[in-house]
Symmetry: C2
Subunit: 342 residues, 2 copies
């Protein structure tokens, strides 16, 4: 899967102790990728901890102004305020930054990349910052790209079923502890989420703007248009947090420009696209759930069916591991494309 990553000499992983950081290390271990030097950076609280994942065994260093000396590539997966403070320092030190926060995504010159969709934008790239899309946008863009190429896209209505790991390690722990407490007749108060998340759906992800639209919904709409290079695409998103640990699922309703001939045609089209795995025999209970997606590099599509309420309408379900293709895996794929020519 990766052929060019070992050309990178020194990599800094900013947010090494977070869920995405950990997933990044696990993918390196799985694929036996070894950089010459890997620096693990995190907040002072974690400094001195020793991380061991696969062949890597290294101490965590506290992130500071001089963390980026001699660093070729810095991957940031930290809260947006930390990103804003430290990315400029990494760039000043000469590092290429690939950032997983929303800080740089909508800056026109910054490539926002899903390699299978618009990876060619990285060929010959000489800028200093690349943005990794929101973890719901990546699988959505991936599933829509072959439809865009073959039929054209008019309008997309999407509803998300997002797991708690998208909100970080504390959110993950909150679901686990709250669920256990409830099953034992107790009631643990929410701390990361505004409401209990155990056996509960929260129809708000992120803050809302003055129009009542959630941050996550705006990101989904804007980033999708940028990645697909369709500034006038009609997109409407509803983001909901559900009590699952891994995997962001989505129901997708699309109006295409040209009609498809059969669902079988669409199934084949999507199944042939890199990164997508079609699991779609619902009469035999074959469709993707969080379980299938968890730990997998694929973006899974199922429940393909015609929407008869509009011309050229299509409904489907898409789900991917939000920490992998939704974050760490996509970053490594970006770097692999980038280092092809370096």
């Amino acid at each position: 899967m990766f052929t060019n990553l070992e050309k990178i000499q020194t990599v800094a992983l900013v947010g090494a102790t977070g869920l995405v950081g950990q997933e990044f290390l696990e993918i390196l271990a799985e694929h036996k990728i070894k950089f010459n030097k890997l620096r693990l950076l995190a907040s002072e609280d974690s400094a001195g901890d020793w991380l061991e994942v696969g062949e890597y065994s290294a101490p965590v260093e506290a992130l500071g102004p001089s963390s980026f000396e001699g660093v070729d590539v810095a991957f940031f997966s930290v809260p947006v305020d930390v990103t804003r403070k430290f990315v400029p320092k990494a760039v000043d030190a000469g590092a290429l930054v690939i950032d997983d926060s929303s800080a740089y995504r909508m800056i026109p010159d910054v490539p926002l990349i899903v390699p299978e969709v618009n990876g060619e934008r990285l060929r010959g790239f000489r800028g200093k910052v690349i943005a990794n899309p929101n973890c719901t946008v990546t699988p959505l863009a991936l599933s829509l790209k072959p439809l865009q190429e073959r039929y054209g896209l008019e309008r997309v209505v999407v509803s998300t079923y997002q797991s708690v790991s998208g909100a970080g390690k504390r959110a993950y722990d909150e679901l686990a502890h709250q669920t256990a407490s409830l099953l034992n007749g107790g009631e643990e108060q929410p701390s990361v989420f505004a409401h209990p998340i155990a056996f509960n759906c929260l129809p708000l992800v992120g803050d809302v703007d003055e129009d009542g639209v959630a941050e996550e919904e705006r990101k989904l709409e804007k980033e999708l248009k940028k990645i697909l290079e369709l500034p006038n695409l009609a997109v409407s998103a509803s983001a909901v947090r559900v009590p699952t640990f891994y995997g962001h699922g989505m129901t997708v309703n699309v109006q295409l420009t040209q009609d498809f001939n059969s669902i079988e045609e669409v199934r084949e089209l999507l199944g042939a696209f890199p990164g997508i795995k079609v699991l779609d025999q619902p009469s035999g209970h074959i469709y993707p759930t969080n379980r299938e997606s968890s730990g997998s590099d694929s973006t899974f599509v199922g429940r393909l069916r015609r929407d008869e309420s509009i011309p050229s309408g299509l409904n489907y379900w898409v789900i991917t591991d939000n920490l992998r293709k939704g974050a760490a895996l996509n970053v490594l794929q970006c770097l692999d494309v980038l280092y092809k020519d370096r």
Copy 2:
């Protein structure tokens, strides 16, 4: 809330030991409703059990051909094959049947009722069977009705977040046991659902037809059109089971015929409609979740916002207790309307 129910002399509750049957009894107890006689009917397995809910304390009788002698109203909440077998017997015995299965819903002469929406269809009704809508359709129809009256409806795209109690008591137990087992490092195999439901979303509810559309999705589309008396309404539904116990949530995307002036106007319109409670101050984390809906008689609406991707577009979230307004409460409300004139 109820003023006419005690005019009914003898009621038979068919499926008394099921989740909806139990909820029916709890609502009677809460509202101190006492019929002259209440017969609790269930399968032979439960016969002889003694149920005590509120002021009711009665033995469960095995459902049989002669169960309906002297019964004025029979409420059926049992699997569709049992419904098909015993409803004709109840009707022959002279009972009025109100049925919670899908068996009679789409028969043109059979009223399919959400009292706040189309309860006037029951005035002067002299037929023998009334159908109770699918538990996702009731809250959806309720939330759409005021929008239909004021603005008109063009197209509805809905995605469901359905709890396990909608699939019955065994499904409820499966989520509880499987979750506990997982948290203890075990893995309990699925039995009611085709896949594990603990911390997992299943994007299929019911069997699929030859077009790949799920039973639940078809019901939602067809029943909604019947209740709203809009046979040409464009409706597209995606039904997903999520790991919650109570409450069916939905993201709703509507294209209206005429535009609304402001979200505040829509908020007031919905809030003034009977049966609806608006919880919509998302900046203060006020929006309805399964928790708010559980045990409540209201259908909750929140996250109201304009969908800028189409003219006159509206997005919102709606959730109700699937066993109450989604089933038992709606039935009692139907009977209350019906017995106004009797």
